[in-house]
């Protein structure tokens, strides 16, 4: 029968009782909006994390060597790792030992507690993609002789030395280090605790400072994301050769880390969406409830239509279309509300994240919007079927007499 008239009728009956229509749709609106907000924020979060990984270098492989303790004959020296990288240049494009120090940087009377201090080799700058703005980066000779020199990030340069810094002295655990270079800012957001709040010294010097005898961390780079798995296998193989056990080291590629993060995020999103979907279910039941009321209220109309020759299918489709239209409108309102809400929440979140160099924007995915719309229409049709069928089966005589 005529679909356009059914739609017009449905819209008309919604328009005649706006408050009731709104309340009927509320469950669907809330459910759809919640799903959209959750997926948008989740997508935004994922994008932000991917962005951060990309900026750190997506092709980084971190190696942690726990070792077998002092005095063991089985240990890994930086030379071993350098040799490994030299052996497989097509998989391991760069290497640096990495010693993280938990120390406070002091310049004059000021202490900079947030500054990250790492001991690395002269190759680090090529691997990280940083650039020097003043002076020079660390050199082989600095590493070889464990000189007390350092390269500082843009934050320290601005805060402690008014934009300069080369030739100045900083103190790490009371030991004076001469600044030989300043790095370019890696993002527009140069602030305390950001990626630009850093300080690099030769790893040999860092070992002396922290009193450790061996290097426990290494960072490799591989030429591309595709070779990460092979590169990881090469490193693991070589470490297994040394230790004859896989218990004394740990190798992690950034691609794996990203995957693990994404998997975690996706799981979290699925759980949240499932919770939001309960609201959709409740909304569907609300629609069913109102449709049952509507069928009772319009028993006489159904009788009239039947007496004029409406078949069961005609009556059924009229009520199903009405339920579907109600939930579809609810879905559209929910989508608009959800997108708006996601935008507001997204900008709130990103305004609280000024301390980092990450940018956060809520991203409503087209497919989740379409799915939300489809699901809400589907719910209307599904929950509208029972009342519609009840209407279709009404006996025309009883329906005509109904008051």
């Amino acid at each position: 029968m005529n679909l356009s008239q059914s739609f017009r009728l449905a819209l008309k009956s919604l328009a005649t009782s706006k408050m009731r229509a709104l309340l009927t749709m509320l469950g669907i609106i809330i459910g759809v909006a919640a799903v959209i907000v959750i997926t948008s924020l989740g997508n935004g979060m994922q994008q932000m994390m991917n962005q951060q990984f990309e900026s750190l270098g997506a092709n980084i492989i971190q190696v942690q060597v726990y070792g077998m303790g002092m005095g063991s004959s089985r240990s890994v020296e930086p030379e071993d790792m350098y040799a490994l990288a030299a052996e497989y240049p097509s998989y391991l494009s760069g290497i640096t030992p990495s010693v993280n120090l938990q120390t406070v940087v002091r310049v004059g009377g000021e202490e900079y507690e947030q500054t990250s201090v790492s001991g690395i080799s002269e190759d680090y700058i090529e691997m990280s993609g940083d650039t020097i703005t003043q002076g020079r980066f660390l050199r082989y000779v600095d590493v070889d002789r464990a000189r007390n020199v350092c390269v500082i990030g843009a934050y320290l340069s601005q805060e402690a030395f008014g934009g300069g810094g080369v030739g100045e002295t900083v103190y790490l655990s009371g030991v004076p280090y001469t600044v030989v270079g300043v790095l370019n800012a890696s993002s527009s957001d140069v602030s305390e605790g950001s990626g630009d709040d850093c300080l690099y010294i030769p790893y040999t010097s860092a070992m002396r400072l922290s009193g450790t005898a061996y290097v426990s961390g290494y960072v490799f780079t591989c030429p591309g994301r595709d070779s990460a798995a092979t590169a990881k296998a090469i490193i693991e193989d070589s470490l297994y050769q040394i230790f004859q056990s896989s218990d004394y080291y740990f190798v992690l590629t950034s691609a794996e880390m990203m995957d693990a993060m994404n998997t975690m995020m996706n799981t979290m999103m699925v759980v949240l969406v499932a919770i939001a979907a309960i609201s959709l279910l409740v909304g569907g039941i609300g629609i069913m409830n109102i449709m049952l009321v509507s069928v009772t209220e319009r028993t006489r109309e159904i009788g009239i239509r039947k007496s004029l020759g409406a078949k069961r299918a005609n009556i059924r489709s009229q009520f199903i279309i009405e339920a579907g239209t109600t939930s579809a409108i609810g879905g559209v309102i929910g989508i608009l509300l959800g997108v708006a809400l996601a935008g507001v929440v997204g900008s709130l979140i990103s305004s609280t994240m000024t301390g980092t160099n990450a940018t956060f924007t809520a991203v409503p995915a087209a497919n989740s919007v379409l799915t939300a719309f489809g699901v809400s229409v589907g719910i209307g049709v599904l929950f509208g079927y029972l009342p519609a069928n009840k209407a279709a089966k009404l006996n025309p005589i009883d329906a005509l007499r109904y008051d």
Partner: protein
């Protein structure tokens, strides 16, 4: 030639708790094309049941009903709907217009269910409204019209599908006597133009407007004949009393 309406030994029996009610108790009735028949009876006489069966809204418990030569007494819900749509036009006491639809849309309804395309539907509905003189009001809602006008809209709706039979169930019941007379005059005019009209009423003064009267009592036909015959308007003695076959009556009980 086959009759337009032909009921043979029609019984309609309801089970009301322990009691069995014979709403129709062996009815034999034929109506031909072009007739104007009034089915008269008091409440409980079975006239509403008869109207439901003639109107294909209900099926008899036993017996057959042929409408236009087709046996409709054993049809399913949807088949009956189609027969109602194609062959019958209803006029109800309470007009039974759908309040949310405007006059034109109301008149279009039977054509909509007949699957007629929108252009033709509109045209035929308008023509039908012209016949009752309400084409100018086609965009109004039923609530904006007077009772008489609403009943004329419902007549237009009954006519729109070009039915074989027009079934009018107490069409003047909700109207004042003046507009009631107008509606009756209109039904008469339709009959003169060739339409078959079946009028169901409890009111003798309305029934006599028809050419032929069928009087029901306790589910049986107690008179079937010309409306001008005085026996047609006999108000039977007491409900349930046997009525003499020759139609004995006392003067005091004649209501005109």
């Amino acid at each position: 030639m086959a009759h337009l309406i032909e009921l043979r030994d029609v019984y309609k029996i309801y089970q009301m708790g322990d009691e069995t009610v014979h709403a129709l108790d062996g009815i034999n009735l034929t109506i031909d094309e072009g007739e104007f028949v009034a089915i008269v009876g008091q409440s409980g006489s079975g006239k509403s049941t008869a109207m439901n069966i003639i109107g294909c809204l209900d099926v008899p418990t036993s017996g057959t009903y042929h409408l236009g030569g087709v046996d409709v007494s054993t049809m399913q819900d949807d088949q009956q709907a189609e027969i109602r749509n194609k062959m019958l036009g209803f006029i109800f006491q309470q007009y039974n217009l759908i309040p949310k639809l405007n006059v034109l849309e109301n008149v279009e309804l039977p054509l909509l269910y007949a699957g007629i395309p929108s252009g033709e539907r509109r045209e035929r509905a308008l023509r039908s409204l012209e016949r009752v003189g309400l084409a100018a009001k086609c965009k109004n809602l039923p609530s904006q019209l007077s009772g008489g006008q609403q009943q004329r809209v419902s007549i237009a709706r009954a006519l729109a599908g070009n039915p074989s039979v027009i079934l009018a169930d107490e069409p003047t019941g909700a109207l004042d006597s003046h507009t009631g007379r107008e509606v009756l005059a209109f039904l008469k005019k339709l009959n003169q133009e060739g339409d078959t009209v079946v009028l169901i009423t409890h009111d003798n003064s309305i029934a006599v407007q028809a050419k032929r009267i069928v009087r029901l009592q306790d589910g049986k036909i107690i008179y079937d004949g010309d409306a001008s015959d005085p026996r047609a308007v006999v108000q039977p003695m007491e409900s349930g009393d046997p009525v003499a076959p020759d139609g004995t009556f006392s003067d005091g009980e004649v209501v005109v």
